[in-house]
Structures are given as C-alpha cells and as structure tokens.
Symmetry: D2
Subunit: 337 residues, 4 copies
C-alpha cells in the first residue's frame, strides 16, 4: 500500500501517520519526490484502517498494491482447481457443458430437454426454478415444484443439475434437490446470499454482476470461500456497456485475466451475454479458444413458446449442431467433453 501525501503536507502530519501505522506493527518507507512525499506501507494491511488514513486532510490518495482476496487468489493456490459436481467434474481437464431451459416449466418439458442435452454431450442440466425478473408481473418460477422436476430429471438421465438461488429460503430448498447452486448476476453482491451458499459446502457457480469489476467478482467469491466452501466456479455472462446490438457485452478478456489471477474454473455463458441465438456458436468456440473451462448454453424444446428468454434459446437440433461444431475446439484445447 502506498500513501501519497498532498504537496503541502506538513511534517507533523506525516509523522502522525507513520506513528499510527507503526503502532499496528507495520513498517513504512518514505520516498520524497520533487512534488510529493510517498509513504510505502509494509505488513499485514488488514490491521490498518485505510479509510481513516485516506480521510486525513494531508493525504492525497491511497494506492493499493496487493489484492484483498486470498482464498481465491492464484498467487497462493498456483494449481488450477478441480471439483466434482454429481458425476462430472469442473476443472482444467475437461470442458463442462451446462445446458437446459432458462426456466423450468413442466416436468415433461424438463425431461424432454434433459434427455436431448445429454444425448448431445452436456453433463450438467441447468434450469431456473427461482427467476429474478425485472418486472414483478413477469413469470417468477415454479420454486420447489421446479426443483423436484430437476431431481427427477437427474435420476432419469444421470446428469448433474444446477439451479439459481435467490434467497436463504431458496438455498435451503435447492440444496435438497440439485447438485450445484447458481448465484445470478443481480445477486453477485448479495453478501448474505453468498455466505448462505458458502455454508452449504455445495459446488457454486457465481455469475459476474452486470457492472462488476473482476476484482469485486473475486471478492464475492472470497465471501463464499471464507464461509468454508472452496468449490466455486465463476461465470462470465456479459457486462453492461453503451452497446445495444447485444443484450450485454461478453467480456472474453476477463477469461484471460481470471486465468492469471485465480485458480477457480471459469464458465462462459454466450446465451445470456448476447441474447441472440445466432451468436451462441461463434462465441462458444471463442470462449473455448481463449481458455474457458466450460459453457452454459440455453436449450429449449420449443423456443418460440418458452416462458422466459426465448430469443436466445437453441432448439435440440441447433444445440446438437453447436456441440458438434465446437468439438474440434475442445480437442485443440487439449481437453475432453
């Protein structure tokens, strides 16, 4: 941590800061520039109240040098993480495909989709039972009923299952029925929910917030891990920009950044990122090409009648075609399905 003093900072103010820091057992290095004085701080910054220092009138700004997340930090965990989800794994050796409908609608629909995505090569069935929708008047999900259908589909097909949770209450239900919990973009900084999914010890997919920096995202993962749960995968699903041709802007460079900063697996969701069916295949290939560990792809038996997010859903034939067309890219990545 670097403390930049204001040009006119008095010596007494500098001394006061140094004393304050050294009282906490940290060390300081002074560096007098031609215009400004800089105080370097060495040691465990968590003992220090940086806000208090930053609020001092003689302090210009504080520049952090090291990250605040530790458990999710590759520096301390250099090997890529791998963990099991039901009968499959997420990690550096395979490309995990999570597919299914945006929202679970009926048992029959879900079973039909589950069989179809399994046949094409998916290993995790996704399906929303709790839908966070912009308007209170939109369809909000089947809740426990939907979770039960997920369980049935898992039993019938052997697929692992993932379902978004939106409250502590939903977590309690979901942990009985599915193999993996998803925290959605709108809840990425719902810290109470993060602690709750941390408590379960179950595999968690943490989607990136609509305008979350990578740093905030890793800190959100840290909440889950600090609650004792290390099985966290991150899901890039597009960030909010001024561009309106796609629903969001898929940030594939985030995959590269994450691969440098964390050992946690990274999943890419081209369906939600773009909101356009035709862009799913090219961006799925791109995601694998730049190092993603898996894909989340929306599939629906009848996209034209889907209760949620129809325009981006693939039908069975389209999904099968995408799966065939991405296979050479999976091979190039040195992984298997």
């Amino acid at each position: 941590m670097i403390i930049v003093m204001k040009p006119n900072a008095e010596e007494s103010a500098v001394k006061k800061i140094i004393t304050k820091i050294e009282e906490k057992g940290l060390h300081t290095h002074l560096s007098q520039g031609e215009e400004v004085l800089i105080i370097g701080v060495v040691g465990d910054k968590s003992k220090l109240d940086t806000n208090a220092i930053c609020a001092l009138p003689s302090v210009e700004k504080i520049v952090p040098i090291t990250e605040s997340y530790k458990l999710s930090n590759k520096k301390f965990h250099p090997e890529p993480m791998e963990f099991s989800v039901g009968s499959t794994k997420i990690g550096p050796n395979n490309i995990t495909i999570m597919s299914g409908p945006c929202a679970v609608e009926t048992e029959e629909q879900l079973l039909k989709i589950a069989h179809a995505v399994k046949k094409s090569g998916a290993t995790i069935l996704r399906g929303g039972a709790y839908k966070p929708r912009t308007s209170p008047y939109s369809f909000q999900g089947l809740e426990v009923e939907g979770l039960k259908y997920m369980q049935t589909a898992a039993k019938e097909t052997g697929l692992a299952t993932i379902c978004e949770v939106t409250s502590a209450h939903a977590v309690e239900s979901a942990e009985q029925y599915v193999s993996m919990l998803q925290v959605g973009a709108r809840n990425m900084q719902n810290f109470e929910l993060l602690k709750e999914v941390g408590r379960t010890g179950m595999p968690v997919l943490l989607k990136r917030g609509l305008s979350a920096t990578i740093d905030e995202w890793l800190n959100a993962a840290e909440y889950i891990m600090a609650a004792g749960n290390s099985k966290v995968a991150l899901c890039e699903r597009g960030i909010r920009t001024f561009e309106t041709a796609t629903r969001n802007t898929l940030d594939l460079s985030a995959v590269c950044v994450l691969k440098e900063k964390t050992h946690l697996p990274v999943i890419v969701d081209p369906s939600h990122a773009t909101g356009v069916r035709a862009y799913v295949e090219p961006l799925a290939k791109a995601a694998i090409a730049c190092g993603a560990d898996g894909l989340m792809i929306e599939v629906h038996n009848d996209p034209a009648h889907a209760l949620s997010d129809g325009p981006q859903s693939l039908n069975f034939e389209q999904f099968d075609s995408v799966m065939n067309n991405i296979k050479p890219y999976i091979e190039l990545s040195g992984r298997t399905l």
Copy 2:
C-alpha cells in the same frame, strides 16, 4: 407494442402471429413498409408471451411502446406522493435531510452525531448496522446492536431513523427499531428482499443499482409497491462509468427523468456518489436546484477514524456549514427544510 418482421417473412408466418395475438383478445394493425412489415399490437400485453413471439424465426424485433411499471408510474398517479417517516415527511413540500455515519460504531458515537445533525437541520438519522462490503474481511456492521443504538438515538433526539437492510432476517430486526428501511445499490435487484420490505408497509428508500437503468429502477420500486407498500422513495447515488476521478458518476439528469416518469420522491446522495468530501456541498446545491426532494449526507464525529467510508464524511462543522449554504437553494425551490 410493435412487432417488426424480418424482410423475408412469409405471409403464413405473419398470419400465425396475428392469430396467436388475437386468440388472447388483443388487436393487431398491419403496416407494410417498403422493406419490412410491422404488426402493431393493441390491448393488455400482460396476457401475451412476448418472448415466445420474439423467438419466432420470422420476427426481427419487438419494440415496447408503454412501460411495464404501473403503480410507480406518474401517468396513473399524476400528483407527487408524500408520506410520513416518524415525525417528518418526504414529498413535494420539503427538502428531507438524512444524515449520519456510514456505519454505526458505538452508542456514544451515534448519540453525538444524532444531536449534531439534528442541530444543523437534519430530520432523519441514517446509520448502517448491516454493511454490504466488497471484501469479507472488512467491517460488516453491528447488526441488532447497532439497530438498538438507532432506537435510542431516535428517542433521545426525536429524529426519524433509516437503516439499510440486506436480508429477510435483517428486515425482521430492523422493522422493530427504525422508522425507514433502505435497500442498497447492490441489492436493488434482490427481488426477494424487495418483496420482504414491501410486506412490512414501512417507508422504504430504494437506492439505484450501480448500473441500473431508470426503467429497471422503477420496476424494482414496482416490486415493493406490488407487495402492498406504496411508501417508496428513490435515491440516486451515482452510476458506474469509465470515469475514475469520482467513485461513481452522479446522474442528476436522472432526477429530471424521474420527475417526469414517477410520482415517487427522489433523494440524492452526493457523499456516496463521489466519495469526496469537497464535492458534497456543490452537488447538494445542484441536486436541490434540479428538483430533488431530499439529500442523504454522510456525517461523522471523527472522519479520520471512521470504520467505513471516511474520505467522504463531513465532520459536524463542515455539515453545519453545508446546511447553512444550501438554505438559499431550498428557499429558491419553494420548499422548507
């Protein structure tokens, strides 16, 4: 609602859509352009599955013409809303000042601050007992203990009180101790929490999400109101942009847009928006000048030792000076404190 067909859409596809719409009791108007055909839809769109239509291969896009929020829509409630919070009011007749520390630290601290902000003219005491912090290792708030201090401060000073809630559990506690609940920016689309604060019937301050559009914000307010609670005020607190000189970009034009679209009161928080103490006064004046119904301003007895957000907090003297300096602007607005 307008359905824009693809240039090559076949007549049979158009007929199918029209049938689908008319089956639901809505009406259609066709408009054949030189390149594309447009279907206008008239009637109650909530009966219609727009996603299903948008997913049809012959449909280019759907353009909504009217808003999805009703209870928070000025079109149906042309008069500005006013409601009581403890002994004060929020609405078109006064400028409500909510002040206090970012985080409640001790009873003594809170009482000191409460007396000071009251003396300078604030009518609502703010103070965080549940702090949503980016890192799990930052101070997370005193929780119920902090709420009790808020209650004590209210009794001692007669101020109304507001506290952020971050979970259903926190709502249950907070409704016993404070006069108004706050939903923070990170939870603006935590829909379960919105329903929960809606259930309480208490006044709610709904902060804008970091990258929320005004439309999404009003839909979030609609969640609270649809749960039976009409006492909602909106708080603009800065949006996320590429600019780094301020923590966020305070969007004062949003105040103007809101005044046109909704009858709900609008509060502006220049402290969190900028993160810089020196910008609070000029932007407080600007907020009043462009029509805001109130201000949220951070005040701390000792900003240099604040446990949270020190750099933007005013001390008592600074706050008193701001309150004096904004008075002529309040007068110009034709309101009272």
Copy 3:
C-alpha cells in the same frame, strides 16, 4: 511514479531498472513489502521511457503519482483564468450564456435568433456551420456561407460568436468570421485539430469526448495550450453510459473535479447532454449551483422545423423563461450575467 515489481522479480532485474533510471539523472527509493518490491522514482519523468520499463518482464505495473498536464494544471496556476471573447468575458466573475441554433440555416433565421437570445441575456451566439453528423446523408452545414451569417449577426447585435470547427480548413475560414472556436466531442482527441486551434491564439471551447476521462480532457486542453494558446474553456456535454432515458449522462461532478484540478473555465451544455427540452432548465440551475462558469443552450426560432437537433431546442419564449428562472441562481453564485 511508482514501479511495482512482480513477486518473483530477481535482484539483477531490479538493479537493471535502477541503473536505467539513475542514468537519466533521476533518483530511486526502494520499498520491500512482504510480497512485492516497489521502486519509487523521483525527478523529471519526461526524461524517462516509462513504456519501456513497463514492458520489462519483471515489472508488474507502473502507478503514476503526478499529472502529465502542466499548463492546464491548477497546481501551477492557482488563480481561476479569465479571458475576453469579443465584448464579453469568460471566467470567475460572470455566468456566460452561449445560445443559438444547433445549425445555421439561413441569414434571416440566424438574425432573428441572435436578436432574441441577446434580448434574453445571452452574450455569445452559437451556431454550427460545420456539422459533424453520424450519417453522411444528414445535413452537414452551410460552411463558409454560415460563417458569414454569423459575422453579420455579430455586427448587427454586438454579440460575440462561437462556431464548431472540424478540420484545419474550417479553422482557417472560421478564424476570419467568429470570436471563438469550438472543438466538438467527436474531435476532442483529433490532435491535429487541437494544434491548429492552438496556433490561432483565439478563444477555444473544448467539449469533452463522449467517453473521455477528465484526465484525457485536460491533456487535450494541454495540446492547445502547448501550441501557445492559453484561452481555453472546457465544456461538459454528457458522457456515454448504459442509460438510455437521456441521450448522454450529464456529469456535473466533473465540474467539481475540474474546479479542483484546473484554472480553466467550465461551461455546461444541458441541451446536448440530455437531448430533451424539458430537462434544460433544471440542469442549467444545477450547473450554476455546483460552480459552472457558463451555459451553452440551444435556441431555435422554430424547433419543430430545425434542420438539426430539434427536440432539445428551446423556442424564444422558453429560452426567455429559462433565463429569468436561472437569475436567482446566478445571484446566489455571487456572479452576474
């Protein structure tokens, strides 16, 4: 300037960097943290090739501590700048009102508007003769013909005049006919144009680029000033964000930041920022309230038939009303029209 080394940087790499820096006559301070080593650099950084250092494999990142702009930097010019434009002044003592049509259409139209805006209190007539339009098929301006009308209007009314320039060629023409040159948002980083307007020595209004940081904006001003022209005013006109309810997001906190970082005057353009006529008055008041030195407001004799930007233009009556309604705010700011 701070150089942060990678955790595994070898001693020989560090030594090489230090030698390189000291060869240029600068000094270094080392600060060994628990995880990383930091090299502080003291002296005239312009002698140093920072990109070269940043490219070294052992370097993590470089953190600049002081700004690269000098002539536009308040640190070196603590007094607010004032300069003359025709018969009026821009600076700390008055609120300059620049008004007129987006595009000059006919001599008759321009004269009519010039008389009207003068009567209501404007001192500078704005009018576009070179229009940078998104589509090549939109009206592009009357060019020299329009400039001549501006000159006529100046002679008839005594108003100073301002016109946007879009090329070196346009600068050559405009400097013969108008009192002040404007560099538009799309050209903020058209550095050849900046040098060209710098060369003229005429007053320049430099609009902020659609996604320019304040730092880049001040560096753009530095281009004009480094070419020998110190008469630069900055114009905040909205930045590009995800919000679509307004054309851009007016960044009034930028006014506060600029007032801290530079001595150059700051003008606010609520017409272009929002694109909505009804928002001009409240945001004009807000701009004055937070410290702006002037306003640019679009006025048209017949907004419904304007060749450019009709929806945001005020007619004469509306402009007169805005001018009357902002007067108390001008008084409060301790300035005159």
Copy 4:
C-alpha cells in the same frame, strides 16, 4: 419509422403530422392503442425531417426501424467483400495478419521487424508514423520520414503496409508510400478525415471508436464509401467500460453482429484492446474462432525499449510462437493465412 404520439395528443396534431409526411410522398398507417396512437411511416425517410417531427409537442418519440447506412449494409450486399492490399487480400478466404511496431522508430528497426513478421506469416506490415498520443509531451511519430521507411520495408520484403493517418495532410503523404490507410479509434468520427481517405480510393482500416456503437461505426464506414471508396475493413480494438484490469474491453460479440449487418471484412486487434502481452494469443485464437477475417498484432524487436506501447508488444520469438499456435484455428475456420 414509427411515430409514437403522446397519450393526450389532439386529433388536429395527428392530422398535421400525417399531412406533413404525405406531402413528401410517403405513406402513413395509424394504429390506435389503448393508451397511445402510433403512426407508421412507409417510404423514403431521407425526404423527411425527422428531427422536426420529433420536436413537435404532441410527439412522444420516434422509433427507427431500418438502418441509415446503405453501402455498408449486408442487406444490399449479401456476399462478403474481398479486396486486395498490395500483394495480399482481405476477405472471407484468408486470415490477414497485420503486424509490426506501434511506432516506426528507425529504418533499421523497421526492416528488422518487417523481415521477422514476414518470416512468421504476416502479410501486412503495420507501423505508426503519426501517433495520436494523449499527452502533447509524448513521442508523436516520425511522420514522412517514417512513411519512407515503410516504403523501403515494403520493397525489401514484399509485404503490404498500413499506416495510421491523423489529418488531411497526413493522408496526402501516406498515400504515396503505403498500401493501406488506417483511421484510428480517436478519429472514427473525424468526418473530414473519413471523406479524405474516401477520396483516395485506397484500402482503409477503420478502427472502432472508444465508445462507438456498432451502428455509428457502420455509419462512419458509410462516410468513406459514400466518398467513392468501397475498400473498407473494420477493426475491433476494445471499447471503454468500467473494467480496469484490461486497457479496454475487447468486444468479440461485435464480430458476430458485424458479420450479420455488413459485408465488410472485420479485423481484431487484441494488442491494443487489452494492453497486455499475455492476453494476445488466447484472444487471437478466440477472434478467429468467432469469425474474424484477420488480426492486428503489435510486434517489436525490443519491447522493453519501444517508444510507444511496449507492455503489449510481442518480441519476435513470442510472435512466432503465437503464429504457430493460431494455425490450427485458422485451419478450423476453413481459411488460409
């Protein structure tokens, strides 16, 4: 085009608009909704003054249905375009690799780089002779001297060459020495420059503006094409967002959108988009995987001593390795180098 009237629009206002539209030879279709009336407009909208209509008090908004660009629009040019640049081609059959230093420094340096990038498979040598730099005190390029080195390098190696132009003056020089002109991000809406490069008839690479929408970008291409030059390729180089881990956010979904909207070739520049050397290879692969027609990659003989943009430059060995590693992706795309 759709005109949405305000809820309270009077019949006389509607009639006036219809008359105005029909006078221009266009047709209207009325659609009376429960809340609002909509007027559909059919025919050649370029005859219509849409701003004037939008400015009418009874009009809520105008929704465009078709794009304003024609020459760059795939609807009218369904086949992907291909054009020659020196001895190579840009188009659907090959992956064009443009490589070289950010800035031309010396003849010796440029020749060394030219030989190296040719050996590894590049077909176009890039090199900046006019550098648009944020600060006026940064290195601004060798100008004509640099162009001459480019010509020498072309003669020695047979490579085609590309150089950024920043003014009409630079265009006049560059067209004598290089095979292709580049318009940089900061000049994407420097419309005078676009007309100028249009006039030359030479191949042009148009980089996307830092916050340009895809629609604005295609309209900028339209400026060049409307000036009589159809040889335009588009270059995605990252957009400005709130994320700070990469210099910009590479928008690969833009490649997919462009492939749907235009027949112009699309090049991706991972070097400038991220500013980080290590991200160039994974994003180069991703770009090819999602349909790009070529790559622009910065290469420098000695990145640690580059006069511009060192941190993102590859050295010869690194570039050769990237070229080898992307070959399987080029093969998968069904193209050749």
